[in-house]
Structure formats: structure tokens, C-alpha cells
Symmetry: C2
Subunit: 305 residues, 2 copies
């Protein structure tokens, strides 16, 4: 694949040299993906691991309304890891990179004493001053999410349940091959629809908590409005707890000023209004019956410990 035109110099020098589009700022994010914390070799195929570690970074770029340009991969592997694992890891990584025209422009390789460790840095760009921050939500803004929530953590929970169940990508593709919401986020930025935004990587309650904290506001959420994911072959939707607190959905959570019309779908993905930003601090959840209750950030802490 031809490199991204912004990459003037990729691998093969002390640094990559990257030219941003005129009038743009740089976006940078880094994300660990550690064996036993973010993935397990018996659950995740190597190309799923490669895909997921890149998707984490691209989802952060999306959450700012940005466009990715280049990615840097640091990979430490145990000495006894088969070369085929590494080859398939790169297959998954580079397939997703190609899909979003992101150039692998550098990185580092090392031996690890135990387990596979991946750290990626992604570089993107956004027009000057137009990055969509967490800190700009205001009371009265509507709260919206893309897609459906809880499917990724429900998949992990099922595999963790001790019944030696290994789910296949077809059971819930977005767990194994999440697609970052780059196009949706760009439209939200171009139409000036999102006042604040974050990606749901740690769980709705934790990530909404970040918006509330950075914006110095509170939030009311309607339990019935939260879109629940469906796993293949399961009877019905995932439990609300997964959608509230489950991680790694890589959907977008954003706020919109009152009075602005939000499309039902953007780039083919459903958009749901789930609540409203309010004055003060703290989040509340309105259950189907009964009064609102405090909603605490109890986002998924991955599956370690």
C-alpha cells in the first residue's frame, strides 16, 4: 500500500517525518495492549490481537473528531512465541491500517521475559482549534451514543464463566474486530453537532464520568434509552450492567446543544439519545420504574485480577 501522503519519511530513520494538512493540529494517543490484561492467546487469534491494538488508538483519534495518519508499534514478545503468531498479528494490524489508510511509520521490537506486550502510538490531525474535547459539555446538552453497548464485555464475561466457552468472531464481531467510528466522528465535527465527545473504551459510566468531570457538570441517564447489544444465538439483549459498565465497545459518547437535530443514523450506524447533561456534579440513572438513582463510574477494569 502507498503510504499516507503526509508521511514524508516512515521507517528507516531516527524519526518518522510527518507533514500535517495545512491549518491542522496533531493528535497523539498511546495505548498498551497486554497479554492477560487486554487479550488472551486462547481467546483471541493473533490477527484479532493485531486488529484490536490498532483499533484502540484509532478510536481515540475518532473521539477527537480527527483523521489518523500514522501509527507506531512497539512489540515485545517471549522468545518461544512462534513466528506464525507474529505474522498473523501483522496481518490483522496491517489490514485495519490499510482500511483507514494509516501508515505504520516506526516502532520498536524487543524480547519480553513473559507474555506479549504491545504499545501503539497513533498520530492524527484535526483542523486547528476544532478538536472535540471532553471538557465542553454544558447543562441542557443531550447525551448520545453510537451503535449498541455491552456486547464486548458480555463476550468476555461468557468466556470467563469457566465453562471453557471460546466465542468466535461471528458471535460478536465488534469484540474481535472493532471498527473505530472515524467517519461518524468526522461528520459530527464537520456539522458542529458534538459539543463534547469521548470513546467508550472503559464503559459508559466511567467514560461519561470523564466528560462530567472535565466539563464540571452532572448527567441524567434513562435506563430504557440505552441501546443493548445482542450476541448471536443468545436469548435477547445483554444485561444492562454490561451496557452501563462494560468496556471495549469503542462506540462514541457525545453531547449536543439543546435544539440541534441529530440524525437517526450517521454513516449507517444508529445514534441513540440516552440522557441529558445537568448542572451540579454526579450522574443519575432513571430505572424503568422508580426514582433516579446515583450512577457511579464502575467501568470495566479489563479482565486481570
Amino acid at each position: 500500500m502507498a503510504p499516507h501522503p503526509g508521511v514524508r519519511r516512515g521507517m528507516g530513520d531516527d524519526c518518522a517525518v510527518i507533514r500535517l494538512p495545512r491549518g491542522h493540529e496533531a493528535l497523539v494517543t498511546t495505548d498498551f495492549s497486554l497479554e492477560g490484561v487486554h487479550f488472551r492467546r486462547e481467546w483471541h487469534s493473533p490477527d484479532s490481537v493485531g486488529h484490536r491494538c490498532l483499533a484502540r488508538g484509532l478510536s481515540d483519534i475518532a473521539a477527537m473528531g480527527g483523521q489518523p495518519i500514522a501509527v507506531f508499534l512497539s512489540l515485545a514478545t517471549p522468545r518461544d512465541l512462534p513466528q506464525a503468531w507474529i505474522d498473523h498479528f501483522f496481518d490483522g494490524f496491517l489490514r485495519l491500517a490499510k482500511k483507514f489508510r494509516v501508515t505504520l511509520a516506526g516502532g520498536d521490537i524487543a524480547e519480553s521475559a513473559s507474555g506479549i506486550l504491545v504499545d501503539i502510538s497513533a498520530l492524527g490531525s484535526v483542523p486547528r482549534g476544532k478538536a472535540i474535547l471532553r471538557s465542553s459539555a454544558r447543562p441542557g446538552d443531550g447525551i448520545y451514543v453510537t451503535g449498541e453497548l455491552g456486547g464486548s464485555s458480555a463476550t468476555v464475561e461468557k468466556m470467563l464463566s469457566g465453562q471453557k466457552i471460546i466465542l468466535k468472531p461471528a458471535d460478536y464481531p465488534r469484540h474481535f474486530y472493532p471498527i473505530p467510528r472515524i467517519a461518524i466522528a468526522r461528520r459530527l465535527r464537520e456539522r458542529k453537532l458534538a459539543s463534547a465527545m469521548i470513546d467508550i473504551s472503559d464503559g459508559l459510566s466511567t467514560d461519561l464520568g470523564h466528560i462530567c468531570e472535565e466539563s464540571h457538570v452532572g448527567a441524567n441517564i434513562e435506563a430504557l434509552a440505552i441501546p443493548l447489544a445482542h450476541l448471536r444465538g443468545r436469548s435477547g439483549a445483554v444485561d444492562l450492567g454490561f451496557a452501563l459498565h462494560g468496556g471495549e465497545d469503542y462506540e462514541l459518547l457525545f453531547t449536543v446543544r439543546p435544539g440541534r437535530r441529530v440524525p437517526v443514523r450517521i454513516a449507517g450506524v444508529r445514534i441513540y439519545r440516552v440522557g441529558e447533561i445537568v448542572r451540579g456534579r454526579g450522574m443519575k440513572l432513571k430505572p424503568p420504574d422508580g426514582p433516579p438513582q446515583p450512577l457511579l463510574p464502575r467501568g470495566w477494569q479489563h479482565f486481570i485480577g
Copy 2:
């Protein structure tokens, strides 16, 4: 410390937002620093480890003639690591960051199954099209190095010698607290003196080999011209082998077009002419007596295995 003015948004959002100086390009480099590979807890104090892992990245920015802006730190630590170790690691890291006005603008923290793992990404800038690459050396160019070589690897060798010798920073400060050659590199760029450049992180023979390979040229080196480091209290200079193949000196290796005058010192550091770029491929070393011999890249592979 006030953040670098280019850092519009540091930690606390999905990405850092960084504005480059007008007319500049971004430089990005990533570097692992792994316990047992790049450092040992019994040899290196935590603040030396923090300093060194940042210096690695800043030295790569220097090697392009760039100016650092921001750094991103991914740190995985074993559960039983004392908090004091982490605190002192940050002391060393942030002291060097402050010295070069680099802002810690993001990163990730995780638990590691075994050993301390650090991965840093550094972002810098250079005027458009002015990055000093490895690929632009030409036959007839003089070959120059800054400072003295071999001291860092001689320090490691002494500690590896099995005599339970732990050297102190005062024995060879540049091993424990290397200062990246940012100012020298900037002057070389501004005066258009360096035609190609790399930092000596893997050893002169390996790093000169990179310039030769990327520039499709060969090189002749004079053994007597190579500046040898001195360790405190040692009788005389380090052996030539350390200066030729030893790593982690973080000096600059650069080429200069014939006829250009190179100062004896830049920013207080001695500059030495060590050889010349020639047509063809391959490197040769001219010993004090006898004919030139082939010089193979035998750079230091760190102290693992």
C-alpha cells in the same frame, strides 16, 4: 512547569492536541526501555532509568535536527514494585523533560507480569523539508562525531564482569544521565553543515552502517581519529572496541560536504573528524599500522542473552 506552548491539550482527553510551529513538520520516535535489556534495577537508580528512557527519544529527535515538544510515557510495572521506585523514576524523567522543555502529554499505565517495561513516544518538530536524514551522505563527505565514544558500553562491561562492581554516576555520568545533543544538532541544521546524521545509540559501526546503507555509499574510518571516552579512575581511555561497537553513547554521527569548515567545538562539545564517505559499499577501518581492514556492523545488542 508550564507546558510547552505547542501543547494545546495534554493529559485528560482521548488524545493530546499539539500545534506545530508554522511551516514545521512533525517528528515522531518510539523507544522501548526494558528491565534486563536496557537497564537493571541493581545497576541503575530509578531516576537514572527515568532519565535514560526519555534521553533515548530526545536523542532521536536531535538526530533529525529537530526540537522536542511532547513525550508520551507507557509504563508497565510488576505488582510488588515499591511506589518509591516509581516516584523516583518520575523525578528523573521529569527533571530531564524540564531541562528540554518537553511536556509529558499522555501515556498509559499497566501491570506487568514480570519486570518493568517502559515505552516512550516523543514528538518534535523541524522546519519543512529540513530534517537531516540518514540517506543524504555522498562520496567525499567528511564523517564527524560529537564528544567521546565507548564510555557507556565500557561502563556496562565493567559491571557485567562478574566482580560485583556497581559503578556510580560519577564514574561515567553519560552512561547514567546522557544528555541528548539537541543544541548541537540544531546548529548543524541551521548552518546547513550536516548532510546526513544519526545518533550513536547502537554503536559507531552499526550506526555508520545505517547511513551507508540508506545513502548507498561506503565509508573509510581512521582508528587513530576516533575519540575514546575516559572512565573515572581508569588508567587511560576505553578500548577501541567499545568506541567502535559500543552502544548508548547518544552522540551524533554526521557527514559534511567537502570544503565546508567544521568548528572544533559546538555548544561546548568537541567535534572530531573520523573518516570519509566513499563510493561503493562497505566500511573500512584504517588501523594505526597496516592496511585498511573491513569494518563490519557489530553494534552492541544490549546486555541480554
